[in-house]
Amino acid sequence: MTLPRETVLDLMGLADGMLEGDAKAKAEQLVASNEEARLLVDTLRASPVGDWVRESTDRQASAAVAGIADSVMARLAADASGAVEGGVVRMAPWVRRGSRRGPAVVAGVGAALVLAASIALYVRSGSQRSDEELAPVASVAVPPVGVPSVALPAPSASASQAEAKTAAAGGVEVNAVEAPSRAVSVFRIPMGAAAAAANAPHPSSVVIWVEEDTGTK
């Protein structure tokens, strides 16, 4: 699964206790409904890095900009092996859709660097392919079966645009999805016993699910 970077920022803010109001409510709702969001928040809260981030935002951040970044990188590098399961999430740089940002996400220069470094390492923790780093949104190693492999939220701006690559081990690979103003999910599904019995080389498939606008059709 992959969450947009902006959503990850909000979730990190939630984990750090920095979100308030609607942003907090939205983030909590996402955590309740999205497995990856829950995993991310749990990981950040359980991690010593999360504690450190929370402490850091209370201090005078500007005095320790360089040290913060180095320290976070070191701590996250040490923690990365357990932070995200088996390369499930790989995200790449993405052009932000809008200007909305959780008000407490950036509490100062130091905190911003902390968050940025955290995101970078969160992203890198599951990525082994440097050639995907320029993909617009995300590259995803798909969970085994039966769960949404990619959940692309409804856009706040004009279009939902994403590139997502499922695990490239044959079968079906989703390279790009663009559905203006609609939420898109990609489900990886097994083809089941029929395919297995037929010795199908790639006994799984994909459903690209595009939410219909209310009131149409």
């Binding site: 039966g146 079906v172 790009a176 790639h202 939410e211 219909e212």
Partner: protein, 157 residues
């Protein structure tokens, strides 16, 4: 003289090489609904019972095959297919690649879109790379109390 002509004919055939294969796209339009009257799956949807155990198929219990079409796809040539809801599915074969040994696998890179004249596209762009005979689905279009699943499969010739 006859021998020379025969040789020329054979040489001509050899230089022409094998005929370029054109893959075939199979499109199946499946109408899925949720019914309190019990599950029912069209007999033509042979593989679907296996799929209905998983999301998003598990949301529905009645599946009916509405339409099926076979369409030859040439690289770079868009093919349009009218759907039952008035929208149009457009599919373009971008390229075909074959992975190397030990498990050679023909892979079809296709680009698809679903639109309706005068309205915002339902699906502006979908790019998928699929192995031969490997189905994938596009779901979510509401239709007559349920939803449409478009099943797409590519076959070689």
């Amino acid at each position: 003289m006859a021998f020379a002509l025969a040789c020329a004919s054979v040489a001509s055939l050899a230089s022409a090489g094998p005929a370029k294969s054109v893959p075939t796209l199979e499109i199946r339009v499946i109408h899925a609904t949720q019914s309190d009257g019990g599950a029912a799956i069209d007999a033509d949807l042979r593989d679907l019972p296996q799929l209905t155990r998983d999301q998003p198929f598990v949301r529905y219990n009645v599946y009916k095959l509405l339409a099926r079409k076979l369409q030859a796809l040439e690289e770079g040539k868009p093919e349009a297919y009218g759907l039952v809801n008035g929208r149009t599915l457009q599919v373009t074969l971008v390229d075909v690649t074959t992975t190397s040994a030990p498990h050679p696998d023909r892979r079809y890179h296709i680009r698809a879109a679903i639109g309706e004249p005068g309205k915002q596209a339902f699906l502006k762009l979908l790019e998928v790379t699929a192995s031969e005979g490997q189905p994938f689905f596009v779901g979510g279009q509401t239709y007559e109390g349920g939803t449409l699943f478009l099943e797409l499969v590519l076959y070689g010739t």
